[in-house]
Each structure stands twice: as C-alpha cells, then as structure tokens.
Symmetry: C2
Subunit: 417 residues, 2 copies
C-alpha cells in the first residue's frame, strides 16, 4: 500500500489551525515504518489538483516549529470544494493521478464539515479505482458549530479574544460614558450560531457591574424589546454594552443587516458583517445617544498573541488524534472532543463518522441563554470558562509577534497541468 | 501654602493612562514633607465641581498596583471643559470653594490639550483669589498629536496593537484570498492625524510581501488613484490590505464617511467611524470582489494585554515628571518627551509651557509618507519601531486579564451641592 501523506487546510482559519498541522507532522515522524514522505498541499484540495505540494520533510525543525504560533493558514486555505463525481469526474481522475504519482496513502483534511466530506469522497473514489487512500479529518472552526464534539479546536481562543477584548472595551466606555458614548456594540463572527457572542457574555462573569446585553444568532431580534432594554440599562447604569452575532435575524428571519452579495468563486450568498453598525445606528437614531461599534472581524480568528492554552492543547491533540485514527481503521472518521471530567476540565478524542457529524450542526442550547434578560446563564459560563484557560507565550521580534512565515517551496511538478 | 493634591483624568483614554496615575501617586509618597493628602477627582474636573473625590491614601498598595495594568480611566474621564471665566464665573468660584475646603495646593490634570489648559486657567483663578494652586499637566493621547513632544504616552501601545493586529489579519487574508476575500481594510482612530494609520504601515516592514496601502488622515483621498492602486495590487498579489485613518477626507475636504451627529453634552460634531466600511463598500461596488473591514475602535486604546513596554515606561515617567515639575516652579507646564539618543532609543522629560503646546498640533510629516505609493518611508519606520518595543506582562485570572477595578469610595461630601 502507498504510504505517503498529504495534509491540507481549507475554510476559515483559526488562530491555532497551524498548531494542528505541527502536531500532525510531529506525530507522523514517530511512525517511520508506517508513513513515508509527508506533503502539504497548498490551498487545500486545489493544491492537489494543481500539484502544488510542499515536501514537509525538507523543512528544518526550527522552521516547522513556527507553526505553533503562526496566524492564518500556513499552507493556504481554500474556500473551494470539488464538484460531485457525476458532474465533474475529471477532478476526481486528476486527484487520483496526483495521489498515484506521489504514492499517497493518507490524506488529512483540516477543513470545515463540507470540505472534509468532499475529501473523504475523493479518497473513496481512489479506493474504488484500486488505489487505497485513508482519509481522516482534522477538526477546526472558531464557530464551535461542530456537532457531537464538546467544542471545536479554535473556538476557545476566539472566545478568549472576544471576552478579553470586550471586557477591556467595557472598562473604556464605563469610564467615559458620563459625558460621551452611551452604547457600545461588538459584532462577533457566527452566521448561524451564537457561540462567540455567547463568549462575550463572560464579561458579566468577570465584571458583574457592566450593563451587558448578549444577542446570539439563535435568538430572533425583536426591535421593541431591544430598545426597551437598552433604554433601561442607560437609565440605570448610564450606558449599555452589547455583543451580537453577525448573523442575527429579525422575527421574519431576515438578516438585520447585510453588506453586499459576495463576488467570489464561492456560491453567492449574503456577506454578513453589518449587524454591529446596524445596531449602533439604530440606537443613535432612536435614543439620540452617542454610539460606538467594534468589528474585530479577522482579529478574532488570527490573534495568536491571545490564544487559550487549553484550546492550543486541544488543537495540538486534534492533529495527533488524526494520525492515530489513520492507523486504526480510521478512514472516513473525524476525531472529536469528548469531555470526561468537569473540574478540572479533562477531555479525550473519539473517532466519529465524518459524514454523520458533517450532516449535523450545533447551535447554542436554550439553557445557555436567558432571552428575556439578554444574558447568558451559569450553565453557559460553566461551559465556556474551561475553554479559555491558560496562556501561550509566542516569541516577539522587534516589537511585534514573530510572524515571519515558513520558508516553503513547492516540489517541481512532474505531471501535465 | 496648601499642600494637598488632586489628580484627575479627562478625554479619550489610553491603555497606559492609569500607569501615569500610579507613578504619580508613588512619586508623591516620596516627598511627605512637600505633599499632604492625595485625592483623585472622579470624572475629571466634573468631579471637582461635584466634590466626588477619592482619598488615595486610603487605598491599599496592592489595590493601587492594579493601576499598572487596568484599561479605561480608573477615575473616569470626562469629555467636558469648564466654560470661560467670563461666561460662567460660578464654576470657577465652585472649584475654588472645593480647593479651599480640601486644602488643595496641587492640581494634576491627565487630559487632552484643551482640558489641561482649562485646568491651568482654574488654577490661575485660584491664585488670583489668594489661594495658590500649582497646576501641572500629565500628557496622554493615542493620537500622538501632542506638539513639541517626541511622542505621546499611550501612542506606542496603540501603535503596537495596530501593527500586531494588522500583521495577523494580513496573514489571514494572505492564506485565504485565492478563493475568498481580496480586499481587507483596517480603520484606525485619528480624526485629524494619521499616526495610527502610519503605524499600520509597519506591517510592510515585518512582512515585506504583504500588498499594503496606508491612508493617513493628512493625505487627501483620491478615489481614482486609490482604485487604480487596489486593482494593481489585486492583479499582482491576488489581494490588497489597507489601513486608513477614520478621518480621511476627499479632495474637497469632506470626510469620506460619517455616521451621525453626536448627541452628547459635547459640542456637536461629526462622529467618525465609517471610513473603513466606506472603503470596503467602494471596492465591493467598483471591483466586484469580496471585502472585509476591521474596526478595532476602543480596542486600540484599551488593549492592556498588548502594551509596549517602552510606552509603559514613558507613561510611568510622565506621571513622575509631573510631580517633579510641580516642585520646581512648574505651574502651567507639561512635561513632554525629548529624544536624546537614537539607538538604543533614549529620552528624557522636559517641562514646556502648557498653553504653548496646547495651541499647536503635530501631524504626520511629509517625509514619513510616500503618497504616490501609499507607503510609509524608512524614516517613519525608524521613528515608529522604538516606540513599540518590549512587552508588559499583566496578570491573568481565570482565563482573561485580571481587570477587576479598584475598590474605591468617594469621601463624604462636606459642601452644599
């Protein structure tokens, strides 16, 4: 059986996705009798199609170690999936050609649900054609919407970023509201799920006096109730802090705000990112007070200086667990996180069926949010707190984090394009 | 002569304003024969008018030490100045009454230019009425527009935050642009000056491959040239990263975007904060590509987890220098920063006339920016780099920074309101 490896990244990045890559490479090196050479495909599955492959074994250890603290996707992450086999068999034939040429027996895909499923289908196709490829997923998403799993690698760090940043900004408005801003809103990522808005709710746990409102994507936005609550908090405390998912919708199911149709190779869909400004403008207009909107956008998924050590460990182990799964009949599986103990928080990895987990999603449960009070519950606090614990200390260089990318070169192409 | 002290904070906060307060309190304690009791007025000069005073001597040392890492203004910061003496003598009479009641001989004002001048005028009035008060300013502003001074306490940390965050976000878009976002813009604070946008230009120093454009408030926005450059960078590199001051104006001197008229006790003026979205929308509309806008807003002035040690030291010494000035005929002065050596960067404090410095401002000099290329020059890099050096390590508690505010109580009021 072929025993070379391809690893690839796809979909929205997390601040610890490269940690999983690092751990995966390290783990593979521990089993030289099982695995052959390791390649990374640049830009996900697109890098396989285009034969844009990096020979990981040629990268020096001190270079590879940069992956532990590097934002973005070190090997580029596509938002691109193959078509279905029926519609575009040429893509599958091409992947098979590349896998054969490079003697690939293992395919690790560090992507979103959809793209991991596609990766698995590609591997299935290769097997049907007589070239056995074991495909294993590596979990990651800041959105925390991965079903069955206790949490997603990447979420804890984004949650820590949101909670810390919102707490700092809350002390800012608190100290200035008497003669200045009365309403501050932070917009978090989360198209359909409110996990990151929920993590902003931790501010109330750390700073109980902050008049805070949490609007996760799951709760329909009710303008009258919202205005009443903001007005009440400004009357009582002098100001109001709000954290809202980009994906909040009104009672008719319409996004509160959208910016424009995306012009990308992705399917057209509404690009979100206007909910924070929409809320700030609403309050300016209706309550005639000064407002501010914070849109961290990419910062919440690339802030490698403010990573949760717990999340970093989970991302590291996600990489390791995928390698272990690949050696244990793990084709078509995804190692997910299972909580085994509450205090101190302990977890283990468990291999589940990729197709099953990809067909489900995980929204914020009702018991985590008190809709009436726009507050998160103690259960939510108990769930979130363990995930943001601990700090990672990335190296600094000349005043900012050492963010110098890896020095990587693609192998010389041997196939026709 | 009266020898009690009042310290107060006013105007937009910095992530190190409380460091100056801490240093000032510590310095005062070193001269018990000169200074009597120390009070902090809550909410700037408003706290004096309303007799909202905190007895600093009653706060335990371990509580006071929190000031070293606390965001916001620990003693609240007003955006409020007294009227002129002619228009509202009652305010001045009231301040004198409070100063007399509390035996105040020293007034330290940690505020913007305008409010420090007002503080000085109040002290002058008290002197004319036979109650001698020495008023000294304590410099602070993230905008770096303080004239004569080499830099402003607070700027280096905001610059470090912007440079670090933009570098991280740049690696994010770099790794995903092929099938996703092509244009990313970060909006920095700076109504009239572009120092913080300039600091975003450091990304090019750390990551030379990033296709970066810098738009400081000083350079008129020229839409045609801007679009041409963005198009060129997207054609060459596949994407474009942009950092722009909130206060950029077109060639007619109109702000590129404004949100709404402020409804505050402040004078009405355009509240900025829409330039980033305006640029992102422009690019979406004209170039039909996916865009993202990052609006750090308050985060750039409250991120106490990402402070420059150099700036922290400068802020600390600004507090100390003000106390020293007050003992050396410093009434009406402001200690500013004078560079004495380039490499390694060394500085000293120098007392200048408050009224003089307040009547000037400091914009980004022409030689710091290459308008044609939307780039910062080596001179700008040489100026900026020393200011962002070094890290401060604030304590964490249960996953986020320990942001518990000081436990402060105001003294019992003795005067009629």
């Amino acid at each position: 059986m072929s025993n070379n490896v391809i690893y690839a990244q796809a979909g929205g990045v997390t601040s610890v996705i490269n940690v999983s890559a690092y751990a995966l490479f390290q783990m593979i090196k521990k089993y030289p009798t099982i695995f052959g050479k390791t390649y990374a495909a640049l830009n996900g599955i697109a890098g396989v199609l285009e034969e844009n492959l990096v020979d990981i074994d040629l990268i020096a250890d001190n270079q590879l170690a940069k992956l532990k603290y590097l934002p973005g996707a070190a090997f580029d992450a596509c938002r691109f999936d193959l078509d279905s086999l029926e519609h575009n068999p040429a893509q599958y034939i091409r992947v098979l050609e590349v896998f054969k040429a490079y003697d690939i027996g293992y395919f690790f895909y560090n992507g979103g649900n959809g793209s991991m499923v596609t990766a698995k289908k590609v591997a299935d196709y290769c097997c049907q054609q007589g070239h056995k490829v074991i495909c294993v997923g590596v979990a990651k998403t800041i959105d925390n919407d991965l079903a069955i799993s206790h949490c997603s690698p990447g979420f804890g760090s984004a949650a820590k970023y949101i909670a810390t940043s919102l707490a700092q900004a809350s002390l800012d408005i608190k100290s200035m509201h008497k003669t200045s801003t009365k309403f501050l809103v932070m917009e978090t990522m989360g198209r359909d799920t409110g996990w990151l808005a929920l993590s902003g709710g931790l501010v109330k746990h750390f700073l109980p006096d902050i008049p805070l409102m949490v609007l996760p994507a799951e709760s329909p936005f009710k303008q009258a109730s919202f205005l009443t609550k903001v007005k009440q908090l400004i009357a009582e405390a002098g100001y109001c802090v709000c954290v809202a998912s980009e994906g909040i919708k009104d009672e008719q199911g319409e996004y509160l705000s959208f910016k424009s149709i995306e012009y990308t190779t992705e399917k057209n869909y509404y690009q979100l990112g206007g909910a924070g400004n929409a809320l700030a403008n609403l309050i300016s207009d209706k309550l005639k007070v000064k407002t501010h909107a914070i849109i961290p956008d990419y910062l919440q998924r690339s802030a490698t200086h403010l990573v949760s050590k717990t999340d970093w460990d989970i991302a590291y182990q996600a990489g390791e667990a995928s390698v272990l799964a690949s050696m244990n009949n793990g084709h078509g599986t995804l190692p997910i996180i299972e909580k085994i103990k509450d205090s101190p928080f302990q977890w283990q990895f468990k291999n589940v069926d990729l197709i099953t987990v990809a067909s489900m999603d995980k929204t914020v449960p009702d018991e985590f949010i008190n809709i009436q009070d726009y507050a998160i519950t103690q259960q939510a606090v108990d769930y979130l707190l363990p995930l943001i614990q601990g700090q990672v200390k990335p190296p600094y260089k000349n005043g900012i984090l050492d963010l110098t990318p890896l020095n990587i070169k693609t192998v010389e192409k041997t196939l026709t394009a």
